[in-house]
């Protein structure tokens, strides 16, 4: 293992050992979602974010012209504009200014761009003092730390720690009462504004039409820092450019709502040009920062990240962030967007561990106010890393030599089924693995590989059906095929009763997601070809799946992987169009009403990440479960990831996966249900394993199994 990876694991372990932080971040995540929902009441979030995305995409195309327009207007209003290609350029310009003007004290309002370039260090090298005035920034400046959240920099700290820092500053014992501590900050920082020779701010918007900037803040420190000192330096990332004041309003409509659940922040300050200051014109410098943004704009696969308006929401809803915090799941910028920005602003090496720590649940994508496919971009970075650093020798060998060779892969799985006998003790569940494998089962029992995979038994399943309404090919996926073959029997039973004949194309292979998610795109593409060939062979009406990750591979990834190959592109499109999740197939195309018999059971439903946020399926299984007479009770955070994530929970980050699973099990048990349903064999492996490990009375089942039970009674 790389030293870097080892050190990262140590930091993960340390973070996981501080439950107080996790508790705070979980509470924050819950409160955030409620506040956000309320703030968007009466607004169409999808429309608002589509508008922001479209506007930002236009900015990307016209960026050169808009930048020139902004500079011309800003200069006409008396500002001096400096284009900084790199962090060093920006630091040098500002440090030179500090020296030339004899500045002794700089007051700063919160600016992530200044964190990005380590501006404070550059200022302090000149002998001047940089004083952070945003409360959170000041706290972490006193603590000698960096922000752990883009909007709330000191979210990881507690009032007792703040009181200690403030006491050192004032020389008195400051009680750990929040209101008092806020007052201390007010008093301590007030003199700073009055004495400072320079104020430094960031900007949330740079408006080409006016040459002005806008600052979106709550505390009022930005107003003071841009008013009292005679020099104002605004450090502005070039991605903050918007064409017009209408476009600025578009951002303002979503930014506070999505960042903090506010309709609007306490202050929005629109500053254009050298405004009056102490009877003269203020000296205004605008430093436009590139520092990797230009390179990001040139990257086909990643450039959408420049749409980001820095609301921080992707962290707020992220189960990994909630488990380990922003110091571990971030570099300077944190959360999902932080991973991408780190890769471009600070280097792929700095982002490597973060890229792998994303579990891929797409919770961030669903709340992003600029509609950035954060997970998609992170996956791409993982591929790039795979190309640069390799995907790990052992993994690489498995992907290239084994996965691509279906016969070998399946022989190995069959062999594994026999080899596991001593630990399974003839049961279907592995509760304890010996030696160092033990860590895999200490928090989650594992299902055994079935004696016979579905592919071997499928032909023997009786299909009692006269004239079928549809013929569907079943794509089982590895887990359904080799671990849960009975799920396939349930599927046949239910679909037969609904007039559907099911076939099992034997040449189907792994969907390729494990390879793709590990950064081996070549293997994934080879698997896409094998599966397109196998699944379209019998010209089925649909290709039906029980695993949403496989669904996304068939529906989305194959199309992308084969789009440049003329021989395959159209066939991949055809497969995509015919692929459907079994719950949606039944709900949308078949009438299950007369077939499902009543089962008296209280069931709660777990939304699988790729089913809800990938395939858009979440109402269908719920409707079917209710049709089967079951009482559906919603658990809290039903659509929060269970922590499975494929190899994430086995090899790369089992300790984080375990923490996320604990949350899920807690929510399941709190729901009062006796059964938890889901539509993903991966989630089932994780959740059933966790419940079994706890000896819970709640049973976990795939929806198709519950429907099969019900069909039996119909």
């Amino acid at each position: 293992m790389k030293t870097r990876t080892k050190q990262y694991k140590q930091r993960v372990d340390a973070a996981l050992a501080t439950p107080k932080l996790q508790q705070a971040l979980h509470q924050f995540g819950d409160a955030y979602l409620l506040a956000r929902e309320k703030a968007f009441e009466g607004f169409d979030f999808e429309q608002l974010r589509a508008d922001v995305a479209q506007m930002k995409d236009c900015v990307l195309v016209d960026r050169q012209q808009l930048q020139e327009q902004f500079i011309a207007n800003a200069e006409a209003a008396g500002a001096r504009v400096f284009l900084a290609k790199t962090a060093e350029d920006a630091n040098r310009y500002i440090a030179d200014l500090v020296r030339e003007r004899g500045v002794r004290l700089v007051v700063k309002s919160k600016s992530m761009a200044s964190e990005e370039i380590h501006l404070n260090r550059a200022i302090e090298k000149t002998g001047a003092k940089a004083l952070e005035t945003d409360l959170g920034e000041w706290i972490i400046q006193l603590a000698g730390q960096r922000p752990s959240h883009m909007v709330m920099p000191a979210i990881h700290m507690f009032k007792e720690e703040v009181a200690e820092l403030f006491s050192k500053q004032t020389g008195r014992e400051e009680p750990a009462e929040i209101e008092h501590l806020v007052q201390v900050a007010r008093e301590q920082l007030r003199q700073g504004y009055l004495e400072a020779d320079m104020g430094i701010s960031g900007a949330n918007l740079a408006i080409a039409e006016t040459g002005g900037i806008a600052l979106v803040t709550n505390e009022g420190n930005a107003r003071l820092a841009t008013t009292l000192p005679k020099i104002h330096v605004a450090l502005v990332g070039i991605e903050k450019l918007v064409p017009t004041l209408e476009d600025a309003a578009r951002v303002l409509q979503v930014l506070p709502r999505n960042a903090t659940g506010q309709q609007l922040t306490s202050y929005v300050s629109w500053i254009r040009g050298a405004v009056p200051c102490d009877g003269k014109a203020k000296e205004l410098h605008i430093v436009l920062l590139d520092n990797g943004r230009g390179a990001l704009a040139e990257s086909d696969k990643c450039r959408d990240a420049l749409r980001c308006i820095k609301c921080g929401a992707c962290a707020n809803v992220c189960p990994v962030y909630q488990s380990v915090g922003g110091h571990v799941f971030g570099h300077i910028y944190i959360g999902a967007i932080g991973i991408i920005l780190t890769a471009f602003y600070h280097g792929l090496d700095k982002a490597a561990e973060l890229v792998r720590a994303c579990i891929g649940c797409r919770a961030c994508v669903s709340v992003c106010p600029s509609r950035i496919d954060l997970e998609g971009i992170i996956l791409h970075l993982r591929e790039t890393l795979g190309d640069e650093e390799g995907v790990g020798a052992a993994k690489s060998l498995v992907f290239r030599k084994v996965l691509r060779n279906r016969a070998l892969f399946h022989t190995l799985l069959r062999t594994a089924a026999k080899l596991q006998k001593p630990v399974t003790r003839g049961e279907r569940t592995i509760r304890h693995l010996p030696l160092f494998f033990n860590s895999l089962t200490e928090w989650r029992s594992l299902p055994a590989i079935a004696d016979k995979p579905l592919r071997d038994t499928f032909a023997a399943i009786p299909q009692q059906i006269g004239k079928p309404q549809y013929t569907v090919a079943f794509f089982a996926g590895c887990l359904n095929d080799f671990v849960y073959p009975e799920m396939g029997e349930s599927l046949v039973k239910v679909l037969n009763r609904l007039g559907v004949r099911v076939t099992f194309p034997k040449k189907q292979n792994c969907c390729g997601v494990p390879a793709l998610y590990s950064g081996d795109r070549e293997t994934a593409t080879e698997l896409a070809r094998q599966n397109v060939e196998a699944l379209l062979a019998g010209s089925p009406d649909f290709i039906v799946t029980t695993c949403p990750t496989c669904t996304m591979a068939l529906q989305r990834d194959f199309v992308d992987q084969l789009k440049d190959n003329p021989a395959w592109a159209a066939r991949a499109e055809e497969l995509s169009a015919k692929t459907i999740d079994v719950a949606r197939l039944i709900h949308q195309y078949l009438d299950a009403g007369d077939v499902l018999g009543e089962v008296a059971e209280k069931v709660t439903y777990h939304d699988s990440c790729h089913l809800k946020r990938g395939a858009g399926v979440w109402q269908e299984p719920r409707a079917l479960l209710e049709q089967s007479g079951r009482e559906l009770v919603e658990m809290a955070h039903a659509d929060r990831c269970c922590g499975f994530g494929g190899s994430y929970s086995f090899s790369s980050h089992p300790e984080i996966a375990r923490r996320i699973l604990d949350d899920k099990l807690h929510d399941i048990e709190q729901s009062g249900a006796t059964c938890v349903a889901m539509d993903c064999p991966g989630c089932l492996l994780q959740i059933a394993g966790g419940l079994d490990n706890r000896r819970s009375k709640v049973r976990a089942r795939h929806t198709i199994e519950l429907l099969a039970e019900s069909v039996g009674k119909g």
Binding site: L189, E219, Q262, Y267, G279
Partner: protein, 187 residues
């Protein structure tokens, strides 16, 4: 939205973010309300509607110590700052202050209390409706400092607990007074 609804929406939204709405019957009562709030010197920058109202003379007549002119030296010691309002946004309870003159900024940032005089006729629906006015300011003047103010200064930076009054005013009073001005470009 008609005028009554705009006013109601504005008041609800402003109160929801912690501003206090005062509705004096006339200018005399308005002066009285300000006197109640003025526990010390009052920072009073010049603005047209305030001058028409005779604020300076009226407050001085009530025995209030006024800080006027260049407020850089004095505003930090003021108990209260008074400004007008150019116009307001109903949906969010937001005041829009054309604050290019420095004293307007100082009076609305440094003291712990900010009293803003708003003519209810100048309440418009929302952010989107404000944009054309914002553009007019930009066309009128070569430099601008325009401020949207929504409630008092706030933070949640310690343990995410909402706390009012960090660096800006701890209290925001909005005096709704008819007949101040009907021009949104004028304060």
């Amino acid at each position: 939205m008609n005028e009554t609804n705009l006013i109601r929406t504005f008041c609800d939204a402003a109160e929801a973010v912690g501003a206090e709405i005062l509705r004096p019957a006339g200018s005399e009562q308005a002066l009285g309300m300000i006197r109640e709030l003025a526990t010390g010197p009052v920072a009073l920058p010049a603005f047209p509607s305030g001058e028409r109202l005779g604020l300076a003379a009226g407050l001085a007549g009530l025995g209030i110590e006024l800080l006027t002119g260049d407020l850089r030296a004095g505003a930090a010691a003021a108990a209260l700052g008074i400004t007008g309002v150019n116009f307001a946004l109903a949906a969010t309870g937001t005041l829009v202050l054309e604050s290019t003159p420095e004293p307007i900024r100082l009076a609305s940032t440094l003291p712990e209390r900010h009293v803003a005089l708003l003519d209810p006729k100048k309440i418009i629906p929302d952010l989107v409706a404000a944009t054309p006015l914002l553009r007019q300011f930009h066309q009128q003047q070569p430099q601008n400092y325009l401020a949207y103010i929504t409630g008092p200064s706030r933070t949640a930076d310690i343990e995410r607990v909402l706390t009012i009054g960090v660096h800006g005013p701890k209290e925001l009073y909005i005096l709704l007074l008819e007949g101040l001005s009907d021009d949104p470009l004028e304060m």
